[in-house]
Amino acid sequence: MSDPEVTDALAREHGLSEHEIALIGEILGRRPTFPELGIFSVMWSEHCSYKSSKRYLKTLPTAGACVVQGPGENAGVVDVGEGRVAVFKIESHNHPSYVEPHGGAATGVGGILRDIFTMGARPLASLDSLRFGSLEDPHQRFLVRGVVAGIADYGNAFGCATVGGEVTFHPRYSRNILVNAMNVGIARADQIFLASASGPGNPVLYVGSKTGRDGIHGASLLASAEFDEETDAKRPTVQLGDPFTEKLLLEACLEAMATGAIVGIQDMGAAGLTCSSFEMASRSGTGIEMDLDRVPQRETGMTAYELLLSESQERMLLVAEAGREGEILDVFAKWDLDAAIVGRVTDDGKMRVRWHGRVVVDIPVDPIAANAPVYERPIAEPAGRAALRELDLAKLPAERDPSGALLQLLASPNLCSREWVYRQYDQLVQSSTVLRPGGDAAVVRIPETERGLALTTDCNPRWCALDPYAGAQHAVAEAARNAAVTGARPLAVTNCLNFGSPERPECMWEFAEATRGMGDACRALGLPIVSGNVSFYNETSGEGAIPPTPTIGLVGLLEDVRHAVPASFRAPGDDVVFLGETREELGGSEYLAVRHGLERGAPPALDLAAELRLQKLLAAAAARGLLRSAHDCSDGGAAVALAECAIRSGIGLDAALPAAGPRPDVALFAESCARAVASCAPERTAELLGLAGEHGVPAARIGRTGGERIRIQPRVDVALAEAHDLWSRTLPEALG
């Protein structure tokens, strides 16, 4: 099969705009070859170039005392003390997971793991933030089963514990589910590896799995080739992963790094060999010369175009110190992995690729990588959005059965037990998991230290849909609060921005608002953003876009991991303490959605100063050992938070929530910010309340743990067993 002729039409098939096609002509002074066209199309794709989002991402706060490496590398790096750094990032794998849930979600996990160990860190813990359509829809159930099994199969077989995440259901995700995978690894501070290709003359090595025709940009290939009898075999395919190979690749990479012979290393993710080599050269201001015939190949007859664009998994590109490549090849041989010298670093700033003895690519690196086109897309607030934020509580019928409402909320798909999901994940491997999933943040010990990390992902898409600015702020605040209740100090965040098409002004407005909110909240809470990922085009024609979903992944630090505070009650007879203040805020709440079928109203007001005071109080109280348990009040409000503490521990409670106006449903189910419920040994309650006073956090003893019932004033009184049963049955009954 010979390469097709490169025409403007073919370039457009590759997703390039007229402007971009012209720009290519300017850069090259000629028409690109077919492989070059492929390179431009992937390097200038939204995914690789961030052309629509860059302008907004630049506004985010990325500096902080703990930051070792901010955005721009494979993952962010923060100092966590004792000579260790945490390396972390979150990434989306949405569309592939919709098309092939098991394989798509699995390769999503594989991709984020490579981002972490490329930097020299050993992956320590994974989290997964998942959004699906309605749980009632059989196809969504099929997707949930496949996605969760895919995450489990990859993470479990690779040997990294999955310790947290979230799952929410909303019909607007039906055709565009979200699978966001986060990973956190640990490295020694002086052993971080970057994606640099410095030192002209240094050899470029390809290591890992062989290259096949996986995931090559479908439309462009189909539109371009004259097909022969082998058409079917050459059709581009969805890429599948192999966690076993990834585990070997991890061990081999860490061992190779320890030799000191590696100059730079970069995983081959989206757009494979192309993206990785361009990024490495661009960062170092060098060029690369490569011979594709030396690339280990899984199939016969692969073209230059295919080899350059293949997204086969479990591969890395690395640059070695000249003369020491043998040491690296030996390591990979020990682990039975392919490794080949495929080229060398040059000093002319050009990418020159040979295939079958011919030069098929000869283009300058920088105009393509660093100076890709950037767009200022039009933005416009969607019509009718402001009206959705109006809510007249006076028209809402008073809650006549608070006990029934609580049970209904506990059984609802978005609030019920997630055990069906995380039971399928190895939560323990590497002996670091101090607080397992099911509470707020998970806590993992940093190996060989007394320190711990609190890890969480959060976003309330309903709030983001009503008000993307406030919703994104809340996502940051909730993530920080989830870490704080474990006793950790929130340290830094990563983010995965899931939106519809940037070409629609409404979506772009949501994006602009959400990034502004995220930036403002991070600045107010002192949280640098060290890594992230943008996923646009989560929409299906005719059905609209997903709700804006800026998922926040957060890492918090516990100086002494033995002080980690679990979310659920520990013993009967403890005092129950309420921290914070409930306001008349039912807008966008689970209660409104589940009980009244309403998704409207303004999200709760966010008081970031109050959040900060609460965070400081929780950390101080945990360090003094005052807290037996602490759980933040979020989805479902204070009543659901208290019920969760009881259900998960098997210990009931008798408590009275502080009144918040005349409506009982507000005290019980409002989702006001900066609140938590804690339990504490009675002899230490006074100290806790005193400490709260010093921190300026409203606090009150509201009751006592114990018994077989969940009694919460106003007017909730249900049997613990019944609540437990309803809460734990929903997912297993729907999903099997």
Binding site: N156, G159, F244, K247, Q427, S431
Partner: protein, 221 residues
């Protein structure tokens, strides 16, 4: 005198470091043994760790059994010295014929990670701190853990699940011993239940019993 315990490392072993660390915390002298080694160092006992050896493709443990090191492990077991298999290690020992029976996919087809309660029945050489009837709370984490006995070869049942059987194994079997009692395999993970920070500490008596068997074997020789 401390027990010299060898922990096998296959490609795809995942709990090898954890098992080694826990034995170490309890005072054993731990040596990691690479799958390509054909000769063993001086050892009193061998432990096969959990994980997904060779990706657990085909059947869990099916390919690890052919690793170069396994010849020496078979000889070691034949000499009557203690061999322990945990999770994937248990699957490997069954595939290698050191233990009777087989492990098949969990009844509900899903990987399961949770704490379970098991009761000691006839733990072969691991009897030092494991009297019959003793209860232990240990985590399981596996996808192919349903024990199926070989109809021609009744196993010595070392451990049974009490309350919840997480995988649907026959007669709630959680672990078995060979006829001689020196080879024991189980699905639950004692090595993840040693450090109080991480939860239960019921794994310690089990691992210490293995170390006691190691020392007894050394004395016998």
């Amino acid at each position: 005198m401390s027990a010299r315990v060898g922990v096998l490392m296959f490609p795809g072993s995942l709990d090898d470091r954890d098992l080694g660390r826990s034995f170490g915390l309890l005072g054993a002298d731990v040596r990691m043994v690479w799958h390509k080694d054909t000769r063993l160092p001086e050892l009193d006992g061998i432990a096969a760790p959990g994980g997904f050896s060779y990706g657990d493709y085909l059947r869990a443990g099916a390919m690890a059994r052919f690793s170069p090191v396994m010849r020496a492990v078979l000889d070691f077991a034949a000499s009557g010295r203690p061999v322990l298999g945990v999770c994937n290690g248990f699957q490997i020992l069954c595939e290698a014929g050191l233990l009777p029976g087989a492990l098949v996919r969990n009844r509900d087809l899903k990987f399961v990670c949770q704490d379970v309660r098991i009761v000691v029945e006839d733990p072969g050489q691991l009897r030092a701190e494991l009297p019959p009837g003793r209860d232990l709370v240990l985590p399981v984490k596996h996808g192919e853990g349903a024990y199926m006995p070989d109809p021609d070869h009744k196993p010595r049942v070392a451990f049974r699940y009490v309350g919840t059987n997480p995988n649907g194994s026959t007669d709630d079997i959680a672990g078995v011993a060979n006829e001689a009692g020196n080879v024991v395999g189980l699905m639950p993970h004692p090595e993840y239940a040693v450090d109080p920070l991480l939860g239960s500490t019921d794994g310690a008596p089990l691992l210490r019993s293995f170390m006691a068997a190691c020392l007894a074997a050394r004395t016998r020789r």
